[in-house]
């Protein structure tokens, strides 16, 4: 077990370098970012050259990459085009985003799995159809629309909440944004759970458990759910990175200054330092998240052992 974890941690090193190099090259391929910094006019060549020098863009790519990685290992992630340190941007963006992601994942687990169990146990019943209908709505109506409507209803019409999230972004304020963010993933989690439950419902060990006269609830939570959760957990593990880095619409609607927004801005402005910095952290986050998910496997299914 310990050796397994160490091996996994060691394997992160090549992934880390591969991913940063790839992202670095991709932003580089997008072209010269300086042209976009001077408004609707040509940058004067001297200032443009000076800016390129300042951001190190005048050097060959490999040189830029090595210099950047060198700085990263001393904790210096560079400077955004507006003069702000990238570490400073991260320090404000990540805490909010982590809170938002936690809320979203809690929704996925609580609501998604609950609905999945219910619909899986009662396939074809009205509950199942209603949940399917909701799933379709969530998939075919853009998050922008659901978010905006919720905001108008809860924030303006009924006055239950502030339409926008304050800079502190306390957990309580993130409930509705978290629900909006989780909505599409909820559809996946629900249907994955539903299918697994339906499939395992007829498995021998469930029949045995029922035949033994165990209470139904215990059968569901102890035997059925536990064995059905593996694909669901796998999905949630893959989803954490997407939730953290891709929450742009949700973050915009609720005015959350999180990772998605910073990454989006960084990419559009072709700011290598911001983009690579944020993606690097995200890569580490989901590598660790997936390691945790894999360790959870053993908890869910004690028959799985790690070499």
């Amino acid at each position: 077990m310990g050796r397994y974890v160490i091996r996994r941690l060691l394997q992160m090193i090549p992934v880390f370098f591969g991913a940063t190099l790839l992202i670095f090259l991709m932003v580089h391929v997008m072209g010269d970012p300086v042209a976009g910094l001077c408004g609707e006019r040509r940058c004067d060549p001297a200032t443009a050259a000076q800016l390129r020098r300042e951001f190190g863009l005048d050097k060959p790519v490999w040189h830029q990459y090595l210099a950047y990685m060198g700085n990263v290992f001393t904790g210096d992630f560079g400077t955004a085009f507006n003069g702000q340190r990238v570490t400073e941007l991260m320090a404000t963006a990540f805490p909010v985003t982590i809170r938002l992601t936690v809320v979203a994942v809690v929704f996925e687990i609580a609501i998604g799995i609950a609905l999945g169990v219910i619909t899986g146990m009662r396939r074809g019943r009205p509950v199942d159809s209603s949940v399917l209908l909701l799933t379709l709505v969530v998939i075919s109506v853009p998050t922008f629309v659901t978010g905006l409507l919720l905001q108008l209803l809860l924030g303006v019409q009924w006055g239950w909440m502030r339409p926008s999230v304050s800079p502190d972004a306390a957990l309580g304020e993130l409930i509705v944004p978290g629900l909006v963010l989780a909505s599409v993933s909820l559809a996946y989690v629900t249907r994955l759970t539903r299918t697994s439950i339906a499939e395992n419902k007829r498995a021998d060990y469930v029949r045995t458990a029922i035949a033994k006269g165990l209470p139904r609830r215990r059968v569901i939570t102890r035997h059925l759910l536990r064995n059905s959760l593996i694909p669901v957990i796998t999905f949630i593990g893959t989803d954490i990175g997407a939730l953290m880095g891709g929450a742009i619409v949700t973050e915009r609607i609720f005015n959350i200054h999180g990772v998605g927004y910073q990454l989006y801005q960084g990419i559009l402005r072709q700011n290598i330092q911001t983009v690579v910095g944020f993606v690097t952290v995200l890569v580490l986050v989901f590598l660790i998240a997936n390691l945790l998910v894999d360790l959870l496997y053993a908890v869910l299914d004690p028959r799985i052992r790690y070499a």
Partner: protein, 539 residues
């Protein structure tokens, strides 16, 4: 049903959390007499000569006052810190600064505050994006050479001649130079800017009606009325809290919910409901912004004689009235010249200068395009950047207009480019496949600013590389003319050259708009579409 228990638990938790959120969200109010307003994160550090967009401009407008200030209503340049600006020859200027002005840290504003600031702004090593504003001043080529290292640190054309006087010598005659001095880049700077630069950036110090009380980058800036302010435009409120919104829709929703007092850009999709949502608390006033379609004159297909007929035909194919009404809900006005109504007729705005060429006439349009040899390549692709502004909507509408006039559903298509930087790079590389969007927001309210940068040979925003000797000659003569009215007439003749060649198709004048809460009164936007914060009354 037992299976439902987790669901019931989850629903209960969600409801509880919602209530908690509602309780937490109650205290959105500001201090008494302070208003909250929407803001966008400035793209550059807040140095005056480094700020080239509206969001940073908002702050500078509150924190700084320059030699001149553009009247918030008429856009006329009026003396602010300038006591007098004299020139015998439109080239040498003697500037006297008013007595008694101070920065909010107590330091007096002197001639040196200006000269130091301008030298800083012009110097290549300081990387200021608006450095070219100092390009008229003698010695600019030494402190900011096009290539190579700079050979001087200060502009030889600037001399401090007394505590409150300094002289400016320009590289060539420019009669309206004093009128450009209201631009933020020409603001004075305190010593603190130079001595403690990092601290200054964290909390800018200026000489305007407001001082920065606190600044959390990316989130919020609190400005408070500065009681030591000596100017005539003292703040009539106790302060402004600028709140960063990443989406104007959210700001608007917050305004409706009572969490925000002022939104200075109401999203177009909400305009239909603005009356209903806000009653009369909505303003929509002209700003010095003109949208045009420019052409790639480096492409021989667009340079060929006779293509001006095609361009004029395209211009006449566009139903500006319908588009500004439907897509923009009257936050744009159909353009009929190449300047802006905010200049006023005395300043050079001339409604209808474009004449029939800007009037919707599908039949003549089709005929003109045919006479001019048809569309180059049989199709025009209008290039725009997709990442800022909602350009897709109006480009699609313009294309529909053209397609309907020409009777061909694919005569015109949009050609989106992913990022603004890429768009600018394509312009720089001269690789536009056809007409492209061009927007011009004036730097200062002069007709010169609407023409020279855009159509003069080699102009900084002449992205289509249009070049015409007659135009250049008229502009040169106008710049040397010391009488304002005759200068304006010469600029208008130059504008006539632009029209006859249809060097760019004028589309519409852009307005600024804003919605505000019940707490506020006397809300207005200046010609730069920035709210006149100091005039707003709270309560």
């Amino acid at each position: 049903m037992r299976g439902a228990r987790p669901a019931r638990w989850a629903a209960g938790a969600a409801a509880a959390a919602l209530t908690a959120a509602a309780c937490g969200g109650g205290g959105g109010g500001s201090a008494p007499g302070v208003l909250s307003a929407s803001w966008g994160d400035p793209q550059n550090p807040l140095e005056p000569a480094n700020t080239n967009e509206v969001q940073g401009g908002k702050v500078l407008d509150m924190v700084f006052r320059g030699l001149k200030r553009y009247n918030p209503r008429t856009a006329a340049p009026e003396n602010m810190l300038a006591d007098r600006i004299d020139s015998p020859d439109s080239r040498n200027f003697t500037i006297t600064v008013k007595n008694g002005w101070r920065f909010s840290n107590g330091e007096p504003v002197t001639a040196r505050s200006f000269v130091d600031a301008w030298n800083y702004g012009a110097s290549l090593k300081n990387n200021q994006k608006n450095a070219y504003f100092f390009g008229y001043i003698e010695g600019y080529d030494k402190v900011h050479p096009e290539t190579g290292a700079q050979t001087a640190d200060t502009l030889s054309g600037l001399k401090v001649t007394g505590t409150r006087t300094f002289t400016v010598r320009l590289a060539q005659k420019f009669s309206t130079f004093p009128d450009t001095l209201g631009y933020a880049a020409f603001s004075p700077l305190p010593r603190a800017f130079f001595d403690h630069h990092e601290d200054w950036l964290r909390k800018p110090i200026g000489n305007g009606p407001y001082r920065v009380a606190s600044y959390t980058r990316g989130f919020k800036m609190s400005l408070r009325k500065w009681d030591g302010y000596r100017g005539p435009d003292k703040a009539r409120n106790n302060g402004v809290d600028l709140q960063v919104y990443t989406d104007t829709n959210t700001a608007y929703t917050d305004l409706m919910a009572g969490n925000l007092d002022l939104v200075d850009d109401v999203p177009a999709a909400q305009l239909k409901y603005v009356k209903n949502d806000l009653g009369g608390r909505y303003i929509n006033t002209p700003a010095g912004i003109l949208q045009t379609l420019a052409f790639p004159f480096y492409d021989p297909r667009w340079k060929r004689p006779g293509t001006q007929k095609v361009r004029t035909g395209l211009s006449m194919a566009i139903d500006r009235n319908l588009i500004t009404r439907t897509i923009f809900r009257n936050t744009r006005t159909p353009a009929s010249d190449w300047t802006s109504p905010v200049l006023g007729t005395a300043g050079g705005f001339k409604a209808g200068l474009c004449g029939a060429a800007c009037r919707h006439d599908p039949h003549r349009a089709k005929k003109l395009v045919q006479e001019g040899g048809g569309l180059p390549g049989g199709q025009v692709r209008i290039t725009y950047n997709a990442d800022t502004g909602s350009h897709k909507q109006w480009v699609d509408a313009v294309c529909n207009s053209i397609n309907n006039a020409l009777g061909d559903n694919e005569a015109c298509v949009g050609n989106p480019v992913g990022t603004f930087a890429d768009f600018r790079n394509q312009l720089g590389r001269h690789s536009m496949p056809g007409p492209f969007r061009a927007g011009w927001q004036m730097d200062y309210p002069l007709i010169q600013n609407f023409l020279q940068p855009l159509y003069y040979t080699g102009g900084s925003s002449n992205d289509g590389t249009w070049s015409d000797k007659d135009f250049d000659r008229l502009v040169d003569r106008a710049n040397a003319e010391s009488d304002r009215a005759s200068a304006v007439r010469l600029f208008q003749r130059a504008e006539g050259v632009v029209r006859d060649n249809m060097a760019a198709i004028p589309l519409w004048y852009q307005n600024g708009n804003a919605g505000y809460s019940r707490r506020l009164s006397h809300v207005a936007l200046n010609p730069f579409s920035v709210p006149v914060y100091d005039e707003i009354k709270v309560g």
